[in-house]
């Protein structure tokens, strides 16, 4: 019951953040050339005059800015993100069809990079200042400094063009119409390169954090207690230190959601992965600003949701969290 209350309270705290993001979206609309309706209608006049007139009315553009903001917020609250004339579909529908592939990409990346990152960080911390530690540190340093989109292109050169092992782009083999398990395997096959590319970068962050976290926990009093009562070093490391060292990693997973969504714009556009990032890339090229704003809003919401999930997860993992 306590936990439910806690969750509800956190949910309430998220509302001002969402409102602030909507206001920010509104301000960005004002920054763009022309008025908000020009932007929403797709700038170049591809919208019908009737629709534009109707939009102007619904936005109340002759009214002061706070009334306009009010209209905008009411629209957003009803999840009315406008219409994309370039793609000839409501923005919300477009985003919904692309959400799945992006979530698939992100969850796989999260699992892969967190698992391997923790493992590597653990290895580095256990063998502090040995060749293993140094090698892992160098790896983290390099992958932290490599632009995602460049890794993606290099992977395509090596694994797709020269070795012909993996497909260059897309999520499924076009025209194959696989079903059932064949389809799952096909998608998994297409996922390898994008997920590896995205994971490499975040892997470095997890590795560094895990190493630092292990080293920090090692100096705590409870470790000394465990050692003093004669527990073998292995048990102290894996039972006591490891469990506590994992907590910051979960925080990082929440913090990184936003950055990962940004990375997915680059990775998806290189690999032609049909997700939100690819949609953003297309919107950028067709100057479909309203669609871009819709994607931005969706991504911000995803980050808020992810942070809520992390908070909730914490209540299970760390009994010290005060639910009051």
């Amino acid at each position: 019951m306590n936990r439910l209350n806690y969750l509800l309270r956190r949910l309430l705290q998220a509302i001002p953040v969402l409102i602030a993001i909507v206001v920010l979206n509104f301000m960005l609309l004002q920054l763009a050339d022309g008025d908000a309706v020009d932007v929403i209608a797709g700038e170049a006049g591809s919208a019908t005059p009737e629709y534009i007139a109707q939009l102007r009315e619904s936005f109340g553009l002759d009214q002061p800015w706070y009334v306009q903001l009010g209209h905008y917020m009411v629209n957003m609250a009803q999840l009315d993100l406008g219409y994309s004339f370039r793609q000839d579909a409501p923005v919300l529908d477009l985003i919904m069809t692309r959400l799945g592939p992006t979530l698939l990409l992100m969850v796989s990346t999260l699992v892969l990079s967190a698992t391997f990152g923790c493992f590597l960080g653990l290895l580095a911390a256990v063998g502090l200042n040995t060749w293993r530690d140094n090698l892992i540190s160098i790896f983290a340093l390099v992958s932290y400094a490599t632009p995602l989109f460049w890794v993606a292109l290099m992977f395509i050169v090596v694994f797709s063009i020269h070795l012909h092992w993996l497909p260059t782009s897309g999520m499924e083999t076009i025209g194959a119409f696989y079903e059932g398990w064949d389809r799952v395997v096909d998608i998994a096959w297409h996922m390898i390169l994008p997920v590896t590319t995205l994971s490499l970068f975040y892997l470095a962050a997890y590795t560094r954090l895990m190493r630092a976290s292990m080293l920090e926990q090692r100096g705590m009093d409870y470790v000394m207690t465990a050692q003093a009562k004669g527990l073998p070093e292995r048990v102290v490391t894996y039972r006591h230190i490891l469990r506590n060292a994992l907590l910051p990693v979960i925080t990082l997973a929440g913090v990184q959601t936003g950055s990962m969504l940004g990375g997915s714009v680059l990775v998806e556009s290189v690999f032609g992965w049909p997700g939100l990032g690819m949609l953003a890339y297309d919107a950028l090229f067709s100057r479909d600003l309203n669609l871009l704003l819709g994607i931005f809003f969706t991504c911000a919401c995803l980050v808020v949701i992810m942070n809520l999930c992390v908070d909730l997860l914490y209540t299970f993992l760390d009994p010290r969290i005060d639910l009051q």
């Binding site: 953040v17 400094a145 632009p147 989109f149 460049w150 290099m154 714009v265 950028l284 931005f296």
Partner: protein
């Protein structure tokens, strides 16, 4: 100063980073001497592989990749430096005000900072450049707008702890005006963590810039590494060198700056270093 060098040179990888960075600055400074013609100019046959005439080959239009990299070095370093300066200034002002005044001001400014940290930064930067239309100025603005929150939080934490120290309390008792306390007493003592995080931010800014110009959001009149890679994308199958070399340039630059930042951290924040070991 001598002491500083002695401590800095104890970290071998930081020295390596400094050497690479120095070479890059040299390359950027001498770009006009080494490659006097405009990097956008078509110099040879399109897509010629690396040879003695074109050290790193040419792209799909016959532009020299080596020249593009040399001129791009100026863009990357310049944008990294300027955008970081703007972000550090903004972050220091906001974080400083929050940390110094505390209470309601702090609460409000920290909510704002948290909001900007929640927003997916790269997508926000893309959106900003798209709205402001691609130019050097809008790229700098976009990078600064998404980078300041880190500095703000850092400066706030420093100010909060320094504010309670006796020398600051003494200055308040003496009736020193707030701005004097901030600039003469607190800020000089908070400078070293700011410098360290600023140096690391330059690396992030360069990565961000390369991502933006890869998506075609760079200044169309200025050569940059991200632009080169973006332009080489469509001919990846036949001319791998167009994408490969600019990427290596980004990798080396970002790595070198990170190493220098870590080296500075070791020298300027000795407390942290001891905690690390």
């Amino acid at each position: 100063m001598k002491n500083f060098w002695q401590q800095y040179s104890r970290n071998k990888s930081a020295v390596f980073g400094l050497v690479v960075l120095f070479a890059l600055v040299l390359l950027a400074a001498s770009a006009n001497l080494l490659f006097p013609s405009d990097p956008f100019k078509l110099l040879g046959a399109p897509m010629s592989p690396p040879s003695s005439e074109f050290l790193l080959g040419t792209d799909s239009l016959g532009r020299s990749v080596a020249s593009g990299i040399a001129h791009g070095a100026r863009t990357s370093l310049l944008i990294g430096l300027v955008a970081t300066s703007v972000a550090v200034l903004l972050g220091t002002v906001i974080g400083g005000l929050a940390g110094f005044h505390g209470g309601k001001v702090d609460n409000l400014l920290m909510r704002l900072t948290e909001l900007f940290q929640t927003i997916p930064s790269f997508i926000f930067a893309v959106l900003l450049v798209a709205i402001l239309s691609p130019s050097l100025k809008s790229v700098v603005i976009a990078i600064a707008v998404v980078s300041w929150p880190t500095v703000a939080r850092l400066v706030r934490a420093e100010f909060l702890s320094l504010r309670k120290r006796e020398f600051v309390q003494a200055s308040i008792t003496m009736g020193m005006p707030s701005w004097k306390i901030i600039f003469q007493q607190i800020l000089p003592n908070a400078l070293s963590p700011i410098i360290v995080s600023a140096s690391l931010m330059i690396a992030t800014a360069i990565l961000l810039e390369s991502g933006l110009s890869f998506l075609g959001l760079g200044d169309p009149n200025i050569m940059s590494w991200g632009f080169l890679i973006g332009a080489g994308r469509s001919i990846l199958r036949t001319a791998w060198w167009v994408c490969t070399f600019p990427g290596i340039a980004i990798l080396l630059t970002v790595m070198a700056i990170n190493l220098v930042g870590e080296g500075l951290n070791d020298v300027l924040n000795p407390r942290l270093r001891e905690k690390d070991q």
